[in-house]
């Protein structure tokens, strides 16, 4: 009985932690919304370039903002995990009939829900700024799912592994800015065919996040690009196939 309930109880705990830490709420949600507003205003003129897919830059930027909410945002899970190690609470949990897998799954479930809410907030702001979602609510949900999963298999895994290895919340926090690189090296702010540098275009093409962002943008601007969506999920699955077993192995090493 308990093995099914335990991850849910721990997910609930992860969700309760979040609003109780005002700094975490502030640094997790506010910068994304601010960046969305600032970059949207700064680059508004880009939308007037010939061939740009939309005349509302906030529409173009919305999927990027979702990734800004989910990819760096998942880093807080690593910070929370490191704090549990530092306080001894991680090991306290392991003295109950809770497996390491349950602890991991509980954290994952809680943070998925938190990231989904953050991504939804971004979309609500986009709508308030006049953006329209071409695929409506189903497309919005699909964007949130893709953004959340990308966050988990990329920076989520990196921050969790770092937390397990260092057991130091400050160390996990210190690498959080690296998550922005993953997003900035995509067509986040400008479509790649409008970028002059061939090297940069190649880097963007090689960046897995680009292959998730592109179909998300299609969902926002035009419709369902099923081939692109399939590629996006394949990329996520591929990253997950590497990241999740590695993280699980490191989690198990906590029992030394």
């Amino acid at each position: 009985m308990t093995s099914k309930v335990q991850p849910l109880l721990l997910a609930q705990r992860a969700l309760m932690q979040f609003p109780r830490n005002p700094l975490l709420v502030g640094f997790s949600v506010m910068p994304v919304l601010m960046m969305y507003l600032v970059f949207g205003g700064l680059f508004e003129g880009v939308a007037r370039l010939p061939g740009f897919p939309t005349d509302n830059y906030f529409e173009y930027l919305a999927p990027t903002a979702i990734l800004l909410a989910t990819v760096p945002g998942i880093g807080n899970a690593g910070v929370a995990l490191a704090s549990d190690f530092q306080s001894g609470y991680f090991h306290k949990l392991l003295t109950t009939p809770t497996s390491v897998g349950d602890v991991m799954l509980g954290r994952l479930l809680g943070d998925c829900l938190r990231l989904a809410v953050q991504a939804a907030l971004v979309l609500l702001l986009a709508i308030a700024l006049g953006a329209e979602i071409a695929t409506g609510v189903p497309g919005a949900l699909l964007m949130i799912v893709m953004g959340t999963l990308l966050g988990i298999v990329t920076f989520g895994a990196v921050s969790a592994n770092l937390a397990i290895r260092t057991r130091d919340a400050a160390a996990v926090q210190a690498i959080q800015p690296m998550a922005f690189l993953l997003i900035f090296l995509t067509s986040a702010y400008q479509s790649s065919d409008q970028i002059d540098s061939r090297v940069l275009r190649t880097v963007i093409e090689l960046n897995p996040a680009e292959h998730v962002l592109r179909p998300m943008r299609e969902l926002m601007l035009s419709g369902y690009d099923w081939a692109g969506i399939g590629t996006g999920f394949l990329v996520i699955a591929g990253l997950g196939a590497v990241a999740l077993p590695l993280t699980a192995r490191n989690y198990r090493s906590a029992y030394s």
Binding site: R13, S87, G88, T96, P97
Partner: protein
């Protein structure tokens, strides 16, 4: 319970209620065996090559209170960690409540409470939330967990702090919360790693009273590490002194003292076998 205890007059009813619950507890009990804990040649060498425990053996009878004493770095916490399934042994074997700590860790965890040396609490939770979560993780229903948390908060004199964030509580209070959380499932075996470190003398005395009553009335098996002589003397029917990862002496405190003759104290016993005083140990810790 002594009248000078801070728990005097406050825990009679909650403790009796708790004992009543224990008689009808839904949590798994220990297998019907003579020894609650069997340790045979247990060893732990950490990946860096440090030999923390070098083949120790001892037995603890069901309902007995057993103390592990030793200087800093002697292997006390590693030993209790292995028994509590937190540290994987690299040699020998150990069983708790009839279950092997390596092969059946989940069964062991269902039957133990573990209060850690570093109070393992969630700073963003309240004591009540933390205790309810622990009860739920042990399979208690929500209302059962809430009721039991209320009783234990009363017994541990934590009722006033029940809804305050743990981050705002003192180190001693956090340790009492950790201890209370360890009792949520009314375990047949309770491990305590330096249980009263950081508590003031009055709180320590109160914790001792409560532990003694719980042990005597619930038949709780108690295993604790400590470097407080008076704690070892008061709470433990038998002690093992470990040094350098091996057991150097084992027996009832009175017997060990008598073996040295005269008016030997537990401090003398400790000094005799380890070459250090308890005070040296405390300073090193």
């Amino acid at each position: 319970m002594t009248s000078s205890s801070p728990f005097a007059g406050t825990d009679r009813s909650p403790l009796d209620d708790l004992i009543g619950q224990a008689r009808t507890r839904r949590v798994p009990s220990a297998r019907p065996i003579g020894d609650a804990i069997v340790v045979e040649n247990l060893a732990k060498t950490y990946p860096g090559g440090t030999e923390a425990v070098r083949g120790i053996s001892f037995r603890v009878a069901a309902g007995e209170s057993f103390g592990i004493l030793g200087p800093n770095g002697a292997g006390k916490s590693t030993t209790i960690g292995m028994l509590g399934t937190l540290v994987r042994p690299t040699g020998g074997r150990a069983s708790v409540a009839g279950f092997d700590v390596v092969a059946q860790p989940t069964e062991v965890r269902r039957r133990i409470g573990f209060a850690m040396q570093q109070a393992g609490v969630d700073d963003f939770a309240t004591p009540k939330e933390l205790m309810v979560l622990h009860g739920r993780l042990h399979g208690l229903r929500k209302h059962e967990a809430a009721a039991r948390a209320g009783l234990l908060l009363g017994i541990m004199q934590l009722a006033d702090e029940a809804d305050r964030r743990l981050a705002a509580l003192s180190g001693g209070t956090r340790r009492r919360v950790d201890l209370a959380a360890s009792l949520m499932q009314l375990p047949p075996v309770l491990f305590l790693d330096e249980p009263t470190e950081g508590l003031d003398p009055r709180s320590r005395s109160g914790v001792w009273d409560t532990l003694e009553r719980l042990r005597s009335r619930l038949g709780l098996t108690l295993v604790l590490t400590t470097h407080f002589m008076d704690e070892g003397d008061r709470l433990c029917e038998r002690i093992a002194i470990i040094d350098g990862g091996t057991v150097v002496a084992e027996g009832a405190p009175a017997t060990l003292k008598a073996n040295l003759g005269g008016n030997a104290t537990l401090e003398d016993v400790y000094l005799h076998y380890t070459g250090r005083t308890f005070e040296d140990t405390r300073r090193a810790a």
